[in-house]
Subunit: 766 residues, 2 copies
């Protein structure tokens, strides 16, 4: 058991490392050369195209303005200055709602911390007289401050039970208010949004079609029959594998062409040549620019043909369609109702926004989908509880003896004492480290197999899996000894009332561990998040070796987005820790508070300056956040119940039984009250927006607006690149600075401003 | 442990009692005097108005045709003769689907019985040689035929596991086919139905209205805004308590009037008189007919005023409305979508058919509803597990000593030895008997508090509660000793893997008990169902003392309906027993088979001749039936798992773990595949019916058709009775024979044939 002093030392170390990170960040961020690493969001949003710089050449790379060094912590007030409304318009609702999670954490835990510390520390210190308090606070084992210090059968447990009630009520109140606020924020956001394709569009899966009829005709006929007044048009989804191969080949050749053109530009006196054979190693020597230019042209001709074929030939059409309606009302109706008498066919759902569509999963048949979900849930269960088995196996292989056998010539090096002890400490953990590093990717892969059709949904599913993993392997795994599998086995052979006891009894003992965990993973981890060391290094490496044009530099910038699948679960773990320890070892709470407020600052800064979201789901993750905080609440209640029952507090324990039931009732109420706002779109809202639209733009041609919104991005990219290519060929000696919005559109095939930009003949339009 | 011989004796007794019931039934049913007891359905449907009779006076009461006595069992083939389509048109889809449950039982259990008996009996008989088989079959303890006879660690358990797989697959296959069949039956039924008000109507609960505006105006405005093309009209719901009181008083006075009129008719020379004071005991003496006639007239004038006031005055309007649309499509859209941005307001659902509405629950606010459901589920839990506590308390009071104290003058009688022993055997059980008798009523009362708005839903919820009660107290209660509360306590202190073992191990030992249970509750119970002894006695008592007119005689007939809340759960219990014992003690299966086929015959007869359904839900209970059979399947798998693990069949047990998982996956698939057909109404179907309607009746005035369909029946009843009254007054000396349909309509306020019949001015119509 650690004393408060030990924890103080650990806190000092972690605070220092966090401060070092922050100092490094403060110094690095004001260097113009790093501007694209620390402020990419401003480049993407187009308000900055080159770093702020001092006049001379050196000033291009290093900040020479001494005054700015004095105010090196000024990013903090800057981060706080932007209002919530500005954040929503700057970074989207997802980011703003993400920040609300931290605010909610502070709202919940500030009063809890104050009350818990004021009431419980005196109660828990066994002799309870204040004269000894000071000495105890410094010297005592941290357990002295926790519930385990209270003698069995004590009446003092009524303090703990009372506070658990108080904290539950407070948490629920805050959760309710926040859910209400976020739901209204979402509705306001959706209402204030300008016209967007997804507001009019529904994705229809499992389209059936009679043998003689094309899918496109069936869709047209079906919706003209069943939604005669509202149906506008539809966009088929094509199997573009063959076309995608051509695009890939074209991109490769284009790269070569660019390379040789650049080379020629630098040395205009020598035209580059190349060999026609395999990898340019042999064969006839030709002029490179001409050769690749011709090849690219040839390929693009082929691509145009293939594109026409893919879109026109019914056998490339998949049994899925994006069906658009004349009004938001029509789309809302279609998305929320059952269409066919066979509920596995003609399944309608709101279309994700075009950037958010995960194209590969669109055409999975219903039956296959059910099987996939079953298999994946079994696999996730196995992964969570049995992941140690393969890792132990790999570890047993990757030991020193095995290494020596594989690389015998390294034997002298390996057997050096220093290196040997390093390797022995390092190798066994390696397999586990690698596994934990790739775990989010594995979970994302699993979610993709499950067949969800939008990126946002995939991320939410991954987050759910990751939370389950953390709950079992980090939270329970730290409390109960043994692997998750052993725990599972033990729990299966214990009675349901015994399990909370087994866990509850070790809860107070692990407080020190979790305090350290919070400081390392929370404090130092967040500080390293703001430093962005890895992207910084990668950006400069790319800048040195790969970047040829400004466009390349923008590509190298690669602004990240909020990593929901990893961030949300770890956030929820902090909530769980806070709620569990609130009445057991309240001394843990200030550490969580520091985490919440520090992380809030950092993420606010990152959202304003760094992150660039790939999609906008309108805070669709909030119901999950709410549910998991409730789950944390219930876990904390059950564990307190278990802990108290080991304390023989038989008189007081029954009072706690009502809490989980009431909490579940509260959750069900909230679910009914708020969740529809996140899953459905009320007709009232849809109609109001339709009417407003009709008044402001009575003669809008919606069909043209929606025409290509849901065409697979690969088809868009061709058109755009073709034009760009022509542009490059026309003014060959000017380096065009592309608008970042446009270049993004290339990637995602999304053109909110000018959807009519690329008109193309589609075979399947009514 | 009972031998086969014991069981044979028990079977003989129960078969004999069943045969006695059947004989009595066969004799009683052909007596003309009982015609209205055994064939009320034909009277209700209007195809029979008086009993078939032989010519003379005696023939009016007793069947003198000797030939009919010879064919006294001919109701069986008669019951089978009607085809399913005829049953649907004769008695509705609910009844037809109810019979399918028995057919499904036979389909599932006939092959299972044959295979289980052929394979498992030889396997279970330990010596396994066929020479001893015959002797064993007669003499052996019934346990010899069950799984418990197999030695621990035997490889023979693979037979049981294999068969469990086979039976599960077979059951799932049958369930799937049946679900498919019933779902398509339902859709066909809905499609073939003629126009009905509920197809166009949606019930809207939790209507909000701004302070200055009436509810009726708000509803109009809301739906005219949000469903401008589809909205037709709406019907408010009124708080008619005051009006209902007047109706009650009028009915009482009307009864007196009728009584005196009849009296006068019998003795035309003496006009009856009455006293005006309290209970007719003192006060001025007046002519009865004139006095009551005047009073009734006066009251009816008041009622007309009150009626106008109730309907016109906005303060009597409840925040609920039945909103009707111009097409089925419009109603389907409104029922399936979310209307308001606050998901607790403007809640829309399909309106139940007018007969099916439970008016009292219509206006419960959303929040109160959530609280009610929570409280009731806690109460049901308490009722199921702790119901023995109050009963034991009452039992301890109601013993002989207590009785003697209350009625000391009966002491000599009570202390007679014979009577004393009878009372001692009888009294302790009395409280329990009374409780079990009123249990369905208690559960129905609880369901009503839960706030469901249709009778069919109330009955389904009651059935669910009753099934839970039976599962815990009949099934588990018989297997594990002790009260449900003791079991619960024991289970809470056992590990999840221990519970199936504890139960599993006593499963084979209880086979005899359940065989007896099936014979008493199933065989003899069903035979007594067809005899209808209680209604027979009540009918004749009423006929002797109360019946004055033919209309009274029809009222006394009181045709019952299928008692879903009790029948469905006990049926599902038989499924559970069959599935659990299929591999454990297969000798139980033939008894279940006999039950299913016998009950099928009896209920077919009853549905054709006796039952008259109060509402038609379109087999909406089928998903529940399906779910509970699946639950039975999973329980049987878990118990087999537990039983085998006590047999140390460690090699074979793991093979069973996959079964529950696969069964749950199957269930989830079925739920997605079929349940929407029972909960929603596909737009495709709605549109098809709309188009067909538009072609066949292009100039239908739907508004007139729907006008009063959803007016509270109490308002209808007045109009009808008023007219009837006039009719009575006009042709005073003729006894009118009312059409049973009309008299039913009076009760339920439902006029499918002539809804324009009673036009009335409503204040709140657009």
């Amino acid at each position: 058991m650690a004393t408060l002093l030990d924890i103080g030392v650990s806190a000092l170390i972690n605070t220092l490392s966090a401060i070092v990170f922050l100092l490094a960040f403060a110094l690095l961020r004001i260097q113009p050369i790093n501007d694209r690493v620390y402020f990419p969001k401003w480049y993407v949003s187009g308000s900055r195209t080159s770093p702020r710089r001092s006049g001379n050449f050196v000033g291009k790379f290093v900040n020479l303005n001494a005054r700015t060094y004095l105010t090196f912590l000024n990013w903090m007030p800057q981060a706080l200055r932007m209002s919530e409304a500005e954040i929503i318009s700057h970074a989207g609702l997802d980011s703003a709602a993400f920040l609300r999670i931290y605010v909610l954490g502070m709202k919940i835990f500030v009063p809890i911390t104050i009350i818990a510390l004021l009431v419980l520390i005196p109660v828990n210190l066994s002799n309870g007289t204040l004269s000894f308090l000071k000495k105890d606070l410094v010297m005592s084992n941290i357990d002295k401050l926790s519930l385990s210090n209270v003698r069995p059968k004590s009446v003092r447990f009524f303090f703990h039970i009372g506070l658990e009630y108080l904290f539950t009520v407070w948490t629920c109140l805050m959760l309710y208010k926040e859910y209400d606020y976020v739901a209204s924020m979402r509705l306001k956001f959706l209402a204030s949004q300008s016209r967007r394709p997804e507001q009019f569009t529904v994705v229809v899966q499992n389209v059936t079609h009679p043998p003689g009829k094309s899918i496109s005709d069936s869709v047209d006929h079906y919706f003209q029959t069943n939604h005669p007044d509202q149906y506008l048009c539809h966009q088929g989804v094509y199997n573009a594998n063959k076309f995608a191969k051509l695009v890939k080949k074209r991109d490769r050749l284009q790269n070569w062409l660019d390379y040789y053109q650049l080379k020629y530009k630098r040395h205009p006196n020598k035209r580059p040549t190349t060999k026609k054979g395999f990898s340019g190693l042999w064969g006839e020597t030709v002029d490179s620019i001409n050769y690749y230019g011709q090849q690219v042209k040839e390929l693009e001709r082929k691509m145009t043909l293939e594109r026409q074929k893919t879109i026109r030939d019914p056998k490339f059409v998949l049994p899925v369609a994006f069906v658009s309606f004349k009004s938001r009302w029509g789309a809302a109706v279609c998305a929320q109702t059952q269409q066919s008498r066979n509920p596995t066919c003609w399944l309608t759902n709101w279309a994700p926004e075009p950037r958010d569509v995960y194209w590969r999963n669109l055409s999975i048949p219903f039956f296959s989908l059910r099987i996939r979900r079953l298999v994946i849930s079994l696999l996730v269960f196995a992964l969570v509880f049995f992941y140690m088995i393969p890792i132990t196996f790999v570890q047993s292989l990757a030991n020193l003896e095995g290494l020596v056998k594989v690389v015998p010539f390294l034997r002298p090096v390996i057997e050096t004492k220093l290196i040997k002890s390093f390797l022995q400490g390092f190798l066994p953990g390696l397999a586990l480290k690698i596994f934990l590093y790739i775990l989010p990717a594995i979970l994302m892969f699993m979610s993709k197999i499950e067949g969800y059709i939008s990126l946002s949904m995939l991320e939410r599913r991954t987050a759910a899996k990751y939370y389950f993993f953390m709950l079992v392997n980090v939270f329970l795994g730290s409390i109960v000894t043994g692997t998750a599998f052993q725990q599972l086995n033990a729990f299966l052979h214990q009675s349901p009332t015994q399990i909370p006891r087994t866990i509850g009894i070790s809860i107070p003992m692990k407080a020190t561990f979790f305090i350290t965990y919070i400081m390392i993973d929370g404090w130092a981890g967040i500080a390293s998040e703001i430093l962005r060391l890895k992207p910084l290094i990668i950006f400069h490496l790319k800048n040195m070796f790969l970047v040829k044009t400004e466009r390349d530099r923008d590509m190298a910038m690669d602004p990240p987005r909020i990593d929901f699948p990893e961030t949300l679960p770890s956030l929820q773990l902090y909530y769980l820790l806070g709620l569990v320890y609130a009445v057991v070892t309240p001394i843990l709470l200030p550490f969580i508070l520091v985490f919440f407020s520090f992380a809030y600052l950092v993420y606010r800064h990152q959202i304003i300056n760094v992150y660039n979201q790939k999609y906008e789901s309108g805070a669709a993750f909030w119901p999950h956040v709410h549910t998991r905080i409730i789950a944390g609440l219930i876990i904390s209640q059950l564990l307190l119940l278990g802990l108290l029952s080991t304390k023989k507090a038989a008189n007081s324990t029954p009072f706690l039984v009502a809490l989980p039931i009431l909490t579940i009732a509260f959750h069900r109420y909230c679910k009914h009250r708020f969740e529809p706002a996140f899953r459905k779109f009320p007709l009232e809202e849809a109609m109001a927006k339709d009417i407003a639209d009709r008044i402001s733009e009575p003669d809008l041609n919606l069909r043209v607006y929606l025409e290509d919104a849901y065409l697979h991005p690969i088809f868009h990219s061709v058109e755009v690149d073709k034009e760009e290519l022509m542009e490059v060929q026309v003014n060959e000696h000017e380096t065009p600075i592309p608008d970042p919005i446009t270049s993004l559109s290339n990637v995602y095939g999304y053109h909110p401003e000018n959807p009519q930009h690329h008109t193309c003949e589609l075979g399947a339009k009514p």
